[in-house]
């Protein structure tokens, strides 16, 4: 029988911690996104000076620039492997936000809760919800920062300018409709980050937090390097999505289908949760504490 009071108390605590414990880290998030805006501005101004851009950049253009990712990398000794700093920093900073919360909770308050709780799964659900809220807050703070920047210096609309996106994000926005944009630039990056955060949390049940962070960072770098549905970092790069790649008119081009990506992300969260349940059942809390 589900005990709603016990369940909601645990969830409430984890939601509260996702805001309260990370409040200073969200300040760093603001600084990071301001740096992204500065980076955008530097590139935008150089293109304007070259006469390649005429329109004023919008909020939509900046969001697309920050989260567009990179095209499929072709391994070649003469081509330096570089991951776009905006995409990479977002993924790596989330590993810091998620941090060692589950490990710390397991040895403090969570330890007492697990020993006394009717359902240990409530505790794990709370941790998954912590990951979801942390990622949502991160992206919300990021979007708010970018919106304020565009309100002050650019145009705060979601309208995508053909020349700005073409020069800076290397995307032909005429092939995208509003649903492609929302799914590719907003939904998939957030959802993929949630899956990575949950994976890091579940991994921390087995490894030390520092090792789980190293694993996630290596996985993120591998996602940028290799194109594969098994490397879910590919899902958060709109430059690798179906419409953008097909527009490039390469017959054998590989691409990510956004619908398939959403389904796989959803399944992964469920699978990771059940792996976590199995691990918490076998976990020796008393010895570890």
């Amino acid at each position: 029988m589900i005990r709603f009071t016990e369940f909601f108390t645990q969830i409430k605590r984890d939601v509260h911690n996702s805001f309260f414990l990370n409040r200073y880290k969200y300040l760093l998030t603001v600084i990071m996104f301001l740096l992204f805006c500065l980076y955008f501005d530097m590139n935008y101004n150089s293109m304007v000076n070259l006469g390649l851009i005429e329109n004023k950049a919008s909020f939509g253009d900046v969001i697309l620039f920050v989260f567009s990712g990179m095209k499929e990398h072709i391994s070649n000794p003469s081509i330096k492997f570089e991951i776009p700093i905006t995409w990479l920093s977002c993924q790596l900073f989330i590993t810091y936000l998620v941090g060692d919360y589950i490990s710390r909770d397991m040895t403090t308050y969570g330890h007492q809760y697990i020993m006394r709780a009717t359902h240990k799964s409530y505790w794990l659900i709370g941790k998954v919800i912590y990951c979801i809220f942390t990622v949502f807050c991160f992206y919300l703070v990021g979007y708010a920062t970018i919106w304020l920047y565009t309100l002050a210096f650019k145009s705060p609309s979601l309208f995508l300018n053909y020349d700005v996106c073409g020069c800076l994000s290397l995307i032909d926005v005429s092939v995208l409709n509003i649903s492609d944009y929302i799914v590719g630039v907003i939904v998939l990056p957030i959802f993929t980050s949630v899956v990575l955060a949950v994976a890091q949390t579940i991994l921390t049940l087995w490894l030390k937090p520092i090792y789980s962070i190293i694993c996630v960072i290596a996985y993120v770098c591998a996602s940028a390097y290799y194109f594969s549905y098994f490397l879910i970092g590919n899902y958060s790069m709109i430059l690798r999505s179906k419409k953008i790649v097909e527009e490039g008119m390469s017959i054998n081009a590989k691409y990510i289908d956004p619908v398939a990506a959403l389904i796989i992300d959803g399944l992964l969260v469920i699978i990771l949760f059940f792996i976590g349940i199995l691990m918490t059942r076998k976990y020796d809390y008393i010895e570890k504490a």
């Binding site: 760093l28 600084i31 990071m32 740096l35 992204f36 500065l38 980076y39 530097m42 391994s75 070649n76 000794p77 003469s78 081509i79 330096k80 492997f81 991951i83 700093i85 920093s89 790596l92 900073f93 810091y96 941090g99 060692d100 710390r104 030390k208 937090p209 520092i210 090792y211 962070i213 190293i214 960072i217 290596a218 770098c221 591998a222 390097y225 290799y226």
Partner: protein
């Protein structure tokens, strides 16, 4: 201090994390060798019908000498995490467990903190150097050790790069000098993380703070177009960007060293554990 140093060194060598971190670095080194270096072991194969080509020396495709493989990128991206993982949070955990009190009974606080600094520095440097040396040796035993040639266009170092004349005339000396730079930076990151542990009670913060600083510096300098100032770009012997300056490397090392030393001095004076 020698007694403390011996105790700390013994602790580090026997710790599972020290072995774990070397294993991670070694794994990256070995996989990089098999995906990049191993393919170069037959250098004189007929190339595109043009004939025999000048063999590519191992200096151009060992893990530190190239900039196009995933494993080289990943190694230098997790560089601070590898350096701090062994010892970063030990001061915080020692304070919590009461181990620090026992140490202060055995000798002076100043001597203890000096020993911690030295042991942290060397542990951070060693966990960085061992995978690089492993990869270097793997490449060197199977691939040619001829001089790199600028005319082949395969070398990652250009005339405007730092120590370029040394790279083309004495590549092994160049490589070892750069390994020394990586050793020093690994040691500084590790000491810095232990120093953070003096000022905080959070076990996780000392482990990740150097990495967050590293990532932020990469973001900041990329955002303003000053790529050569980011440690991620200048720590790799392949020099990921142009115009890297040794002065910048030294200044940034000093910028890490100064707060580290100040925190250790402050900790030695103000620690109220006993």
């Amino acid at each position: 201090m020698n007694r403390f140093l011996a105790l700390e060194v013994k602790r580090i060598i026997h710790s599972k994390r020290f072995l774990g971190v070397i294993f991670i670095g070694g794994f990256l080194a070995v996989v990089q060798y098999f995906t990049v270096g191993f393919k170069q072991r037959f250098p004189l194969i007929n190339w595109s019908g043009i004939g025999v080509r000048y063999p590519q020396p191992w200096y151009e495709y060992w893990m530190g000498g190239e900039w196009y493989s995933l494993f080289s990128y990943t190694f230098y991206m997790i560089f601070p995490l590898l350096a701090t993982a062994t010892i970063g949070d030990t001061l915080v955990s020692d304070r919590t467990s009461g181990y620090l009190r026992h140490m202060f009974i055995l000798g002076e606080r100043k001597q203890y903190y000096k020993a911690r600094f030295i042991s942290a520095f060397f542990s951070g440097g060693i966990v960085i150097i061992i995978p690089l040396l492993l990869n270097m040796l793997l490449c060197a035993v199977t691939c040619p050790s001829v001089y790199p040639q600028a005319a082949t266009g395969t070398a990652p170092i250009f005339t405007s790069s730092m120590w370029s004349s040394l790279y083309f005339s004495h590549p092994l000396i160049y490589t070892f000098l750069y390994l020394l730079v990586d050793f020093v930076y690994g040691g500084l990151f590790a000491s810095f993380s232990v120093a953070i542990g003096i000022a905080t009670r959070n076990r996780f913060l000392p482990l990740v703070f150097p990495f967050i600083t590293y990532l932020f510096s990469f973001t900041v300098f990329s955002a303003v177009g000053l790529y050569k100032y980011a440690p991620f770009n200048f720590l790799s012997p392949s020099q990921r960007v142009f115009d890297i300056s040794f002065l910048v490397i030294v200044i940034e090392a000093v910028l890490i060293l100064v707060p580290t030393v100040l925190l250790f001095v402050w900790g030695a004076k103000k620690d109220e554990t006993l």
